[in-house]
Each structure stands twice: as structure tokens, then as C-alpha cells.
């Protein structure tokens, strides 16, 4: 008769053993690869990556109120446009460095969200969405109308000053790559922090059952407002980045409903209310879009938007929680294939 030996206690991987765990070392490897990529890839791909980073930032910012606070915004372009136009107009008129203009723009975006929040935060669901559409549209129309200030439909160009880091301009795409990447990491850090903080927990509770949340002392309006301000701040900053990267802005592209929908789609496709969802969403969508544009280069009108619309409908009908879970499973399986001792920490 065999004597059953007591089961070996679960050994936690200590010290250098941890380095052998793909879950630990692969992110470092990944970061290394990401750092090298802009120097080895063709410009077109670097551009795609920058767009992915940009939309990951936008999607994450949207997620703060759309995902965590369950206030669905279809007007985030309003904040994006405010950021873009503020820094650009300040630079053209006063030579103010867009780095500083960016802060102004972000604060102006927050001011706008304070106004909208005060007026419309009591609204739920579709009514709030409609109000946000209204806000972005009004801003778009005002920007078109007050031509003397904003050049209206003609748009504004960033005066080209060559390689001017202090003026947020670079002749190569590489600095933009690293700036947007850093910005993305910062945004993710903020989202993670919010998620684990009291505010994040409160937002979760509000999303579950607002009445029950209030019964345990949660000021739901205040929590949502905090999330909204953070969201609009980040989005405003992203607007400035875009202006400096694209060298040209005009009302329809930075205030447009299409942009707002795209931002929301990034978060929804990836996974509303998750940290990495918008990143995954941005990855998928931007790759798809850039490939579509490249492959069909203007031969099929509206193809890009057809892709957006179809993706949105398909995701809502088939997988409204987003694809992040699948991606995370795939990632886990990928890690298992790598050399080393895979021991999931979570």
C-alpha cells in the first residue's frame, strides 16, 4: 500500500527565479522591442503605431467615464478639439509653446466638462449621450462660424519651424512616437490608479447600483464628476498632441461626431471598464483602418466608416463586453509557449 506523501506546499517563485517567468520577463522584452521599433520600421508603420497610441489614450480617457462611471459620451471630440484649437491658436497668435498651450487646452477642456456636468450629469443613458453630441456639435459650429479667430472651415496649420523640441515640433516621427508612448503609459497608470483607489471603487459601485451606492454614503455625482474631469483633461492634451503631429486641424476632423464615435468604439471593442481594453481596441481598430486605407486608397468611398459602423454593430450584438478577455487568454497561452517557468501571478 502506497503511503500518500503530503502535497508539496506551493512555492512562491523567489528572487532570480522570477526572471525565468515569461510573465515577468516578456513585458520587459516587449518594452525593449517597442523602444527599438521606431528606428527599424518604415515610416508608415511608425505612423500606425503612433495612431494606435493616440487612440489608446483617447479610448482610455473615454473609459474613465464611459466604462467606470457608466456615463456614455458621444461627444468626446469636444475636448479633443478644444485642446487642439487652444494650443494651436495660442501658438499662432502669441508664439506660446504648445507644451504650455497643452496645459491651457486641457484646463479649458475641463472647464467645458464642468459646465456640461453641472447641466447634464443627472441625465442617464441616451439623454446624456445626446447632450454630449450637442456639445461637440455646438463647438464645431462655433469654430466654423467664428472664422476671424479660427479660420473656420479652412482650418489652422501649425507654422513649420523645423526641428523645434521646445515648440513641440520634430522633423522625424520618432520623437512623436516616444512622446505618445510615454503619454500612453502615463494614462494607463492613471487608469490603474483610479481603478484601485476609493474613487475607482465608488465608480464601480455606482455602475452596479446607484441607489445602493448612495445608501452607503457614496456621492455619486461627485465621483462621476471627478472621472469626467480626468477624462476631459487627458483628451484635451491628446488634442494638442494631434495638432502638433498632424500640423493641421479643422473643425470637422477634431470636433466631428465621427471622431467621438471612433473613440467610444475603441473602448467598447476592447472592453469597457477594463484597463487594457482600450489599448487592445486601439490596436485592432487602427491596424484595420490603416490597412484598409492603404489597400483601397480612396477607391471605395466611406469604406473606413463602413468598417467602423460594422465593427460597432457586430461587437454590440456578439460581444458587448469586448475582446479583452480573449486577448488576455491568448496572451497567457503565448507566454506558456515561451521558454522559462511560467507561473501566473494572478
Amino acid at each position: 500500500m502506497a503511503i500518500a506523501l503530503p502535497a508539496e506546499p506551493e512555492k512562491k517563485q523567489g528572487g532570480f527565479n522570477r526572471l525565468g517567468n515569461p510573465e515577468v520577463y516578456f513585458p520587459f522584452l516587449g518594452l525593449l522591442i517597442l523602444f527599438i521599433l521606431p528606428f527599424v520600421l518604415p515610416i508608415f508603420f511608425v505612423h500606425i503605431l503612433i495612431m494606435i497610441f493616440l487612440f489608446a489614450i483617447l479610448g482610455s480617457a473615454w473609459n474613465l467615464i464611459g466604462g467606470y462611471a457608466s456615463q456614455l459620451s458621444l461627444g468626446h471630440a469636444a475636448f479633443f478639439g478644444i485642446g487642439a484649437y487652444t494650443s494651436t491658436m495660442l501658438m499662432r497668435s502669441y508664439g506660446l509653446s504648445p507644451w504650455i498651450g497643452m496645459i491651457f487646452g486641457a484646463f479649458l477642456a475641463v472647464a467645458m466638462s464642468i459646465l456640461l456636468g453641472a447641466l447634464c450629469f443627472r441625465l442617464r443613458g441616451p439623454y446624456f449621450a445626446i447632450a454630449t453630441i450637442g456639445l461637440a456639435e455646438v463647438l464645431r459650429l462655433f469654430t466654423l462660424h467664428f472664422r476671424d479667430w479660427t479660420s473656420g472651415a479652412i482650418g489652422l496649420t501649425i507654422p513649420f519651424k523645423g526641428n523645434a523640441p521646445f515648440l513641440f515640433q520634430f522633423t522625424s516621427k520618432v520623437p512623436y512616437y516616444f512622446i505618445s508612448f510615454f503619454f500612453l503609459m502615463l494614462t494607463i497608470w492613471v487608469v490603474r490608479w483610479v481603478g484601485s483607489s476609493r474613487l475607482g471603487n465608488y465608480l464601480l459601485a455606482i455602475g452596479q447600483d446607484q441607489d445602493a451606492a448612495e445608501a452607503v454614503g457614496i456621492d455619486s455625482a461627485k465621483a462621476k464628476r471627478m472621472a469626467f474631469y480626468m477624462s476631459s483633461f487627458i483628451t484635451g492634451m491628446a488634442g494638442t498632441f494631434y495638432a502638433q503631429y498632424a500640423y493641421f486641424i479643422e473643425p470637422d476632423s477634431v470636433f466631428g461626431l465621427g471622431l467621438s464615435i471612433q473613440i467610444a468604439l475603441v473602448a467598447i471593442l476592447g472592453g469597457v471598464g477594463t484597463v487594457w481594453g482600450p489599448v487592445v481596441g486601439a490596436l485592432i481598430i487602427e491596424s484595420l483602418i490603416q490597412f484598409t486605407q492603404y489597400a483601397f486608397a480612396g477607391t471605395i468611398y466611406g469604406l473606413e466608416q463602413i468598417v467602423y459602423g460594422s465593427l460597432l454593430v457586430v461587437i454590440i450584438l456578439l460581444r458587448p463586453v469586448g475582446v479583452i478577455q480573449w486577448v488576455q487568454n491568448l496572451y497567457g497561452r503565448w507566454l506558456r509557449c515561451l521558454p522559462g517557468k511560467y507561473a501566473p501571478r494572478s
Binding site: 464611459g66 457608466s70 456614455l72 458621444l74 456640461l116 453641472a118 447641466l119 447634464c120 443627472r122 441625465l123 442617464r124 443613458g125 441616451p126 439623454y127 449621450a129 445626446i130 447632450a131 453630441i133 450637442g134 456639445l135 456639435e137 455646438v138 459650429l141 462655433f142 466654423l144 462660424h145 461626431l257 465621427g258 464615435i261 467610444a264 468604439l265 467598447i268 469597457v272 471605395i300 468611398y301 466611406g302 469604406l303 466608416q305 463602413i306 467602423y308 459602423g309 460594422s310 465593427l311 460597432l312 454593430v313 454590440i316 450584438l317 458587448p320
Partner: protein
């Protein structure tokens, strides 16, 4: 700013307002019966316009004569949208409901873009330039016809809802779904009907304007944004409210642009909307 100008604006507002009314009653009916905000409602109008245009361009049929065809086509299209798409998110959270119809809207607009390109298209009818004068203001005959058509269809809708059994059944579902099931009404069928009828009305609104307006893929967007303002102001689900409010809002917009400038018309409407949502979310006629 003379009194004539204001009178003209008022009159234009009333004429246009009726057409918006036709669009809005459909939107508010979908909300009342199916309990969903249809962000793709403007596209029903757009499709109606394109169908009307196509029938004119290829078969030479005047938009007014092809109206029944347009309405029939939109009716089945609307039912299809409800049956295959909207039905699946009726019990889903807000996010799904909102973004489904948003996605459908984007899809439809861009399919139209793909099929018809972005060009503005117009129909040429013999009476396009007929006008007459009414106390100093100029009334355009096509617009008047459109207005009358809109009023007629709205009245027909009212009759349908008030006097026919099916209409009453629909109102029952709007009031209380569970109880209406208890008396043998099939809510699903009512939903299909509601969206079908609304789409037909929206299509009619579009077709009616083809004699003096032009169609392009995103024509529905501007119309529907104003329609949102109207239905919210007129209290969601309230059909009478929607029609009356249409007149009020469009007249307000017509007069407003005299001061603000023509391109800010939509902005004026939206400011009205945001203020309404902030202070009286249930609309002018509703309980908060």
C-alpha cells in the same frame, strides 16, 4: 430687421416645422413603444430621399406619386431593422442600445456614400419654383405641399393610434408591456409595427422634401439632431407633444438665425436642448 422678415421666418418655420414634426413623431413613437432611442432615425429619412430620387432618376416618377412606394419600402426596412437588430438589445444595458443604433447609422450613411458618392442630388419637378405671396411673405409651393403632406400623415397616425384596434394595442404596449401581454397583445409585433411605421413616416418626410431640398449621405444627421431636441422637449413618447414642439422649435430656429446667423441654426437648437435637459429633462409637457 423688418416685420416682413420676421413674418417670413415665422412662416418658413411653420412650413418646415410640420415636416420635422413628421420625422419627430416617428422618433418619439419608437421611444414610447419600444423604449429605445433610435440614433439611426435620420437615416430612414435619408433612405426615403434616395429611394425617391432613384425612382425619379430612373423611372421619371414625381416624388409625390412615388410617395406610397417609398413609404412601403421604408416600412419593411424599418421592420427589418427592428426584427434583426434592435430586438436583440431590448433588454441590454444602455451602452448596447445606444451604440447599436449609432453603429447602424454610421453603416447606413457610409453605404449611401459608397453607392451614391457625396454629391448633392436634387429632383427637378415642374412646380419647383412656383410661389405665391401671403401677406408680404413668399410661400414656396413645394414646401407648402410638403407641409400639408406632413400634416396629413401625422393626422393619419393620430387616427390610427386612437381609433384602430392595432393602434390602441400599440398604445397599450407603450403604457404597460406586461399588462398588454395579459390581454393577448403580442409586444414583438407591436415593436415591429412601431418601427416600421416610424420609418415609413420618416421616409415620407424625406420624400416630401425632395422637390425642394437635396439629398446627400449625411442629410439625416442634421435633421435628426433637431428631431432629438424636439422629442425631448415635447416629452419622449408623447406624439402630440412632438408635433407641436416641432413647430415651436423650428419657428424658434428660423427666427433665431435672423440674429445668430444662418450657419448657427443647429447651434441655437442645441443650446435649447442642453438647457432643456438641464432644467426640465422631462420636456415642456412632462412630469420631471
Amino acid at each position: 430687421m423688418s416685420i416682413t422678415t420676421v413674418w417670413q421666418a415665422l412662416l418658413s418655420g411653420l412650413l418646415n416645422g410640420a415636416v420635422y414634426g413628421l420625422l419627430s413623431v416617428g422618433l418619439t413613437m419608437i421611444f414610447g413603444v419600444v423604449k429605445i432611442v433610435n440614433f439611426a432615425h435620420g437615416e430612414f429619412l435619408m433612405i426615403g430621399m434616395y429611394v425617391s430620387y432613384a425612382l425619379w432618376a430612373f423611372l421619371g416618377i414625381d416624388p409625390l406619386w412615388s410617395l406610397p412606394l417609398v413609404m412601403a419600402a421604408l416600412f419593411f426596412f424599418g421592420m427589418g431593422i427592428q426584427r434583426f437588430f434592435i430586438r436583440r438589445v431590448l433588454n441590454a444595458p444602455d451602452l448596447a442600445q445606444i451604440f447599436l443604433t449609432v453603429g447602424l447609422s454610421v453603416l447606413m450613411i457610409n453605404l449611401a456614400l459608397f453607392l451614391f458618392r457625396a454629391d448633392f442630388r436634387m429632383v427637378k419637378v415642374p412646380y419647383a419654383d412656383w410661389t405665391f405671396s401671403l401677406a408680404g411673405a413668399i410661400v414656396s409651393v413645394p414646401r407648402l405641399i410638403a407641409c400639408l403632406g406632413a400634416i396629413i400623415f401625422s393626422l393619419l397616425l393620430a387616427l390610427f393610434l386612437l381609433k384602430t384596434d392595432v393602434g390602441k394595442a400599440m398604445r397599450a404596449v407603450a403604457q404597460d408591456r406586461e399588462v398588454s401581454m395579459l390581454v393577448g397583445i403580442n409586444p414583438e409585433r407591436m415593436y415591429n409595427l412601431a418601427v416600421g411605421i416610424s420609418a415609413a413616416l420618416a421616409g415620407a418626410a424625406g420624400a416630401l422634401t425632395m422637390s425642394f431640398y437635396f439629398v446627400f449621405p449625411s442629410v439625416g444627421v442634421n435633421f435628426v439632431l433637431i428631431a432629438f431636441v424636439i422629442v425631448i422637449l415635447g416629452t419622449l413618447g408623447n406624439i402630440k407633444g412632438a408635433f407641436l414642439t416641432s413647430l415651436i422649435v423650428v419657428v424658434a430656429e428660423s427666427v433665431g438665425v435672423l440674429f445668430a446667423g444662418a450657419d448657427l441654426g443647429l447651434a441655437v437648437v442645441f443650446v435649447i436642448l442642453v438647457l432643456t435637459l438641464a432644467f426640465r429633462p422631462a420636456g415642456l409637457l412632462g412630469r420631471a
